[in-house]
Amino acid sequence: MKFQIPIGPQHPALKEPISLRMTVEGEVIRDADIRLGYNHRGLEKLAEEKTWIQNIYLTERICGICSHSHTSCYVQGVERLMELVPPKRGMSIRYLVSELERIHSHLLWLGVAGHEAGFDSFFMYTWRDREVVMDLLELISGNRVHYAMNTIGGVRRDIDDGQKAKILEGIVTLRKRSAYYFHIGANEPSFVGRLAGVGRLTKEQAVSLCAVGPTARASGITRDVRKDDPYAVYDELDFEVGTADSCDVLGRVVVRVKELMESYKICEQILWKLPPGDIAVKAPRKAKPNEAVARYEAPRGENIHYIKSNGSDKPERLKVRAPTLANYPATVEMLKNGFIADIPLIFAAIDPCICCAERTVSLVNIRNGEETVVRLGELRQQAIDRHKNAPPKRNAVWPF
């Protein structure tokens, strides 16, 4: 007998609330169906009515976690359209903020993963450390969420020597703490056992479904725009693309941990060789007819903007593709043949927003239409209880 479980669409903290309908057989998910559009804001249409500068602030509001990613991607494209060459110092500051944003996003996500797996001390520690990087972002930009750092042709705020020293100090603290907690995480058999083998996505599936970011890299694909298509400062930096071959949630944790360590390295490199000079060049008000494709590696994967200008001060077309959309087809595959108890964990593994808030899940029995409403918190508790007495997977190890 098969049941269908609708999940969502009321996901208040997620930028794109989604509705998932799971067809289950007992505890096992046989099929999943995704419905989107509950928060479609018509942003691409709106962008056609706003000027080049106004659109920076519009794209910033696409997402509350990777706000800097969208503006960076957009201004990269507009700079190509207008054939501007932003000064080196401006570029360094822009991508310094990008890496700090990646650190805050990954720390947030790791906390969520720990929380969903029932390892709440991990969650509290990583979120405490996230405050360090949030304070650094506030120090640089004055804001914690929408940094408003980018402008066409550079950045809006400079950093001085005092700020530079504070950022370097903060990175030392973060690196030390991260290394210690990840040592604990890697040596905690129940945590590793809970994540191993959950939400499997083979390399072939990840390739054919066009997965991006840590989701793709955890399935053994070395796809990172910073390496494949190095924009601005990235071709001068020394870093590696973190990958894992385990194709499961554990792999996604490992990839993000590796990326954190690489981001600390990148931040230090940028700060050590921060060139003197201007931070921005003056941009024209209008752009001649042209087109550009801008690619950017956001914390969750590749961001791509296609921008076309028509000679006026407004874009003819701005197409935005956020990384989460690219990962939905892969999520369906991950959920298939998993357990209901793993839904929160698998969701959390692609997107850090989705499990921030308590939500309701209703379990519908199609035969008699009986409906039970479970809060996601209770579903999580059920998941933890289910795995509490399960024998630890002896063969599951942290793949260092």
Partner: protein
């Protein structure tokens, strides 16, 4: 492989299908093809140039025609297939047999431009609401949003 070599290779591999191949910027290649050659060209790119990753599909309203851009990405470059279809008969073949991950982007094109994607495995609306009036395609240039007049039940007191 440099951009120039890659551009030449694409020209040769696509032969008469490639109407125009340009390389306006570093690692950006634009290929213009006829709409009927879409699936064949996508197959050639996938098998010959490692373009198994389709980043997204952009639609564009050009008045009489729709322009559709398929943004492929290989480790070497970003290759964009550009094709045009008539607005009066906006039909195009689905690329999902070649790139299964394209389905969401094709559904978005259907919702936003009213294109008909032939042989799409899942033709349901993606982003528009269930009660969206038929024939409204927001990203067409002639579509304007008019905010419905707000009516306060019982009137203002």
């Amino acid at each position: 492989m440099t951009d120039v070599e890659l551009t030449e290779n694409i020209k040769q591999a696509l032969g008469a299908k490639a109407l125009e191949v340009t390389n306006p910027d570093r690692r950006r290649i634009f290929v213009r093809i006829a709409a009927v050659d879409l699936v064949a060209a996508a197959t050639i790119l996938r098998d010959g140039f490692d373009c198994r990753y389709l980043a997204t599909i952009s639609g564009l309203d050009k008045g009489e025609t729709f322009e559709i851009l398929y943004h492929f990405a290989s480790p070497a470059a970003n290759i964009n297939l550009r094709t045009e279809i008539l607005k009066a008969a906006p039909r195009i073949e689905s690329v999902t047999p070649v790139i299964p991950g394209a389905v969401l982007y094709e559904r978005e094109l259907q919702d936003m431009f009213g294109m008909v994607i032939e042989h799409i495995p899942d033709p349901r609306p993606l982003v528009v609401p269930d009660d969206w009036p038929a024939g409204n395609y927001p990203l067409r240039k002639d579509w304007k949003f008019e905010r419905p007049q707000e009516i306060i039940p019982g009137g203002k007191s």
